[in-house]
Amino acid sequence: MQVPAPFEYARAGNVAEAIGLLERLGSSAKLVAGGHSLLPMMKLRLANFEYLIDINDLHGELGYITVASDQIRIGAMTRHRELLESAPLLAAFPIFRDAEHVIADPVVRNRGTLGGSLCQADPSEDLSAVCTTLDASCVIQGSGGQRVVSMAEFHRGPYETAVGDDELLIEIRLPLRAGGSSAYEKVERRAGDWAVVSCGAALWMDGGTIAEARVGLAAVGPNTTGIPAIGELLRGKAPSDELFREAGALASSSCSPVTDLRGTEEYKRHLAGELTRRTLSTCVARIKQGV
């Protein structure tokens, strides 16, 4: 049995207390939310630190999905399963249903959180790709107050984020806009595996033409990759297989995958294109069906 190195354990009762503990313990401390990324690393002794601050009691404060007219706000402690079971969230963004069905397994989804997923900043992380696709912004809180950063600013490289040692990610904001839909596809070697490549797309129509489109790719770069050029290509045009194939080609050439056990660089580039094409088409089909 794998056993972690020795550490002290503290349990925060609310956000202020968590920040207080972080300020006091600094970089020698680590937060644990669902623990499904952190605990495996601790057991392998890849993550070693002196203090573990458990923030699961913050679920009351930070476990929420609130729908307003212009945005959906999701608390950082909201669990995968709660995302999957939120009818208003899935109605606005079907991409969450697609993605959550292919993230790990029910055991992991019962505990893992949105905040933990984003803060883990794994290049293959699925919810980061979803948030990139949806142009999410992240609310970070420290003792000095809150700041809001975009997804592009939030991720600073593999396993690195904009959250400081004495700060907490508390909320994700997703802008709402009418006339759109979204979708997610993932290629994995086996159920519950991390993505070989996965891709989210969101698209909004204005009559017969595309008003806006966004793509978020996981596992093909140091962080989730949004490809703004795809939006530029698609805006103002009528959707077609040909057009989405072009968008796919853009995705293939704009990402930076590497060869590893999950696949060759060439294959991953191919998938980036293929999944971009598929998810964009699904968005259009969903808009037509009104979902």
Partner: protein, 796 residues
């Protein structure tokens, strides 16, 4: 007999259980289902200490120094032991099952990443693990040999400089068949097809990792070892030979095992370390390996690079098969196989076909990888052999543009040819291949599937139909030419009937989930008519079971199962004599009527086996010369192996855009001779098929150039889940073994052996429009896509 397996409705009710063969629930399941199984890690003894092993972070390096002072200073640490300390006691090296030696703890060099370098014994397992980090080892890094193809190149780094006079990484050469005769047949053949076929290194990955509790009791001078062992008796003898402890002072107990698959056949350094620790400290010591340790250091399987060649006439008569194999044995040759069979039973690579000639040449080499080459449900390398022949036959079908089913049907060994001596000298006991093949084709609707495939191909969809037909050689084996480290591969069995007619059967084989407690009770029930529920089956304790070599290579039913039937017959013979006294007739005047003897021609005059048991133990006279009691013991030495076979057909769909493979259907027709408990057989088949899909599509132990093992967790070493496999469809034919007392053949590994080529053949069939003839396992989406691009040897 040929039939599709029926699914009887009432079998879940054990009150209707058979007195003998038939479906019944497994007697052992209530304890597993309720979490009441007792595994090695559940054993906790008073005062028990915990052992953890420091492993090499690199694949090849000379050890310059080891500083254990800081670890020794840890307040909870009792001992820190290095190879140098073991060497003083002559225990730094131990024999492997293939007559090589393996380091218990490295003294001179480390030879693979994960090799044992030192161990710590501490009060709890956390402290033991913490103290490992306090040990400082200085290494002089050497170039590793990771590419088996380069292991024999001049100037390759020498791995085994511990072996006197060793100058290269050569491990052994082996050949079988007739090279000249085979060459002559190849020279005259219309068609010759050759293909390089790799069976990658895979791992058994049992859910329960390896471990033990060693308890040396100083007053008695007796060592009790609870251990994860598929072969407790063989292990006891080896410990006696290595440690110098007398064999009667060693008791090996294998409690419930959470999966073996060959992983628990070898003796690992961890066991020896725990024994040494207990001997020295005088307290019980537990060692439990973690998941990564299991994956990186314990017995792997396969790792054969095979060049297959097949010669045929242009109308598809197969004439000869030839193969050249490069075998990667890792740093120490730890293969578990009968000693005269360094390549196991790979010689059955001629498959189920009647050939004119065959030849195999094998070169085995050392590399800087973990040792083992054990099993993983391989029936001693038959997995590799069957993969080779079934793949190369499909390559021939591709070349001839012939239906692979038709090609196989045309070349089968015919029923009247049995017993059939293959061109590599194996004597197939019995077989009737065509009915099994036809049944599988009927069950899956072969002709309709081919039509569907043609329609789909026209639309650009990728659908494949794969076939494999395998023959195994299991039940090792005849002691005249099969032994492991000098121990003959026979198995003992002891049966005692208690006064009230209940019984206990003690066997030398060792269940790892195969359902022995049920199957053996049913075998005895069939012979003496005592219900299975009344028969306790005991295994896994060397003080309480007769000697035998354990469970692997599908040998339990062929060997121990035979022993169980024969010992029951011996008891029945004695019961008959006692019955003759009770009924006052001569022995010859009695007839057996499952469960009782009656007087011939007068069924009303009868005695039950239970009544006989009471008489055997009770008061009153017994017939002249008969001792009291009703029990017997035998040792069964098989006269030949048994040769189970099967026809597997599966259907896959490949996504043309993402190259993902979905196994849509899988029909498995197995012939394992007499069927004892069909439910248990199906369970074995289901498990093996799942294994096979895993190996075909996702499993591989891989390394980088520096020698790092990249598959040290179950996130990296993938094993399939229920979502990757279809609902299995099983069928059967019954061709009894002529020499086995009840006609049974082994079935434990059939499906693992037969399914990988079936799945790979299906994927290759799907990729036919891309003119792909072969691509290597595991067929991950990336590899399938690369094959579609014409690159069948992708870099990963």
């Amino acid at each position: 007999m040929t039939a599709v397996e029926d699914r009887p409705a009432g079998f879940v009710d054990n009150d209707q259980k058979p007195v003998g063969y038939g479906r019944m629930l497994r007697k052992e399941d209530p304890r597993f289902i309720r979490g009441m199984g007792r595994y090695v890690d559940d054993i906790n003894l008073p005062g028990m200490l915990h052992l953890a092993i420091l492993r090499s972070p690199v694949a090849h390096a000379r050890i310059i120094s080891i500083d254990t002072r800081a670890a020794e200073a840890h307040p909870k640490v009792k001992a820190v032991v290095t190879g140098a300390i073991l060497a003083e006691k002559g225990l730094a090296w131990m024999p492997t099952l293939s007559n090589d030696v393996q380091a218990v703890l490295a003294t001179d060099k480390v030879r693979f990443q994960g090799q044992e370098v030192a161990f710590v014994v501490a009060e709890d397992r956390y402290a033991a693990r913490d103290a490992l980090e306090l040990i400082e080892v200085e290494y002089d890094i050497l170039d590793p040999v990771m590419d088996v193809r380069k292991a024999l190149e001049p100037g390759a780094p020498l791995i085994r400089d511990d072996l006197e006079g060793k100058k290269d990484n050569h491990c052994f050469d082996w050949e079988t068949g007739d090279a000249a005769a085979t060459e002559a047949v190849f020279a005259k053949a219309d068609v010759v097809v050759s293909e390089d076929i790799v069976y990658p290194r895979v791992h058994p990955a049992p859910m329960e990792t390896c471990g033990c509790v060693a308890d040396f009791e100083r007053v008695e001078g007796k060592l009790t070892l609870w251990t994860t062992s598929q072969a407790p008796h063989a292990h006891r003898t080896v410990y006696a030979l290595v440690s110098g402890l007398p064999e009667h002072k060693i008791r090996v107990i294998a409690p419930d095992i959470g999966g073996g698959f060959g992983n628990k056949v070898p003796i690992y350094p961890g066991y020896v370390c725990a024994i040494v620790a207990s001997l020295v400290i005088g307290k019980p010591v537990k060692w439990t390996e973690d998941r990564s340790e299991n994956l990186v250091s314990t017995g792997f399987a396969r790792d054969y690079i095979m060049r297959g060649e097949i010669a045929a006439t242009k109308d598809g008569k197969i004439l000869a098969i030839r193969t050249n194999v490069l075998a990667d044995h890792g740093a120490f040759n730890g293969t578990a196989a009968p000693i005269k069979y360094p390549a196991g039973f790979f010689g059955v690579f001629t498959g189920s076909y009647d050939l004119e000639a065959a030849y195999c040449k094998m070169t085995a080499v050392y590399t800087n990888k973990a040792p083992g080459g054990v099993a993983y449900a391989c029936s001693f390398r038959i997995t590799e052999a069957v993969y080779l022949v079934e793949r190369i036959v499909d390559c021939l079908a591709y070349q001839l543009d012939m239906d692979p089913a038709e090609l196989r049907l045309k070349n089968f060994i015919q029923p009247d040819q049995f017993p059939y001596t293959s061109k590599t000298g194996w004597v197939y006991d019995s077989g009737d291949y065509e009915p099994a093949m036809r049944l599988a084709m009927d069950m899956i609707g072969y002709d309709e599937l081919r039509k569907e495939q043609a329609e789909k191909r026209a639309k650009g969809e990728l659908m494949g139909i794969g076939i494999s037909f395998f023959t195994e050689a299991v039940g090792a084996g005849p002691r005249k030419d099969m032994d492991i480290l000098g121990l003959g591969m026979a198995d003992g069995s002891e049966l005692r009937i208690h006064p009230t007619g209940k019984a206990v059967l003690r066997v030398s084989c060792m269940s790892q989930g195969q359902g022995h407690e049920t199957t053996y009770a049913q075998i005895v029930a069939e012979e003496i008519g005592i219900p299975p529920a009344d028969i306790q089956v005991v295994n896994g304790d060397t003080d309480n079971t007769p000697f035998g070599l354990g469970t692997y290579g599908s040998r339990s039913t062929p060997v121990s199962g035979a022993a169980a039937a024969l010992v029951a017959r011996k008891v029945r013979d004695k019961a008959q004599i006692i019955a003759s006294g009770m009924l006052e007739v001569s022995v010859a005047d009695l007839e057996w009527d499952k469960g009782s003897f009656h007087v011939k021609g007068d069924p009303s005059k009868s005695v039950t086996i239970q009544a006989i048991a009471m008489r055997a133990h009770g008061a009153g006279d017994l017939p002249e010369g008969i001792e009291g009691g009703l029990e017997a013991q035998i040792c069964y030495n098989p006269s030949n192996l048994t040769y189970p076979f099967g026809a597997y057909i599966c259907v896959v769909d490949v996504d043309p855009g993402t190259a993902q493979v979905k196994v849509r259907r899988f029909v498995a027709v197995d012939d394992c001779g007499t069927r004892i408990n069909p439910m248990i057989i199906e369970g074995q088949v289901h498990g093996g098929l799942t294994d096979g899909v895993g190996m075909a599509l996702m499993e591989m132990i891989s390394f980088d150039e520096d020698g790092n093992c990249l598959s040290g967790s179950l996130m990296d070493y993938l094993i399939p889940t229920a979502l990757e496999v279809p609902e299995w469809e099983t069928g059967y034919t019954v061709t009894p073994s002529p020499h086995h007392p009840i006609g049974a053949k082994g079935v434990g590994e059939s499906a693992t052996v037969g399914s990988p080529p079936c799945v790979v053949n299906a994927v290759m069939d799907a990729l036919k429009p891309f003119k792909v003839r072969h691509a290597d396992m595991p067929l991950t989406p990336s590899r399938v896509w690369e094959a579609m691009q014409g690159r069948t040897r992708p870099p990963i």
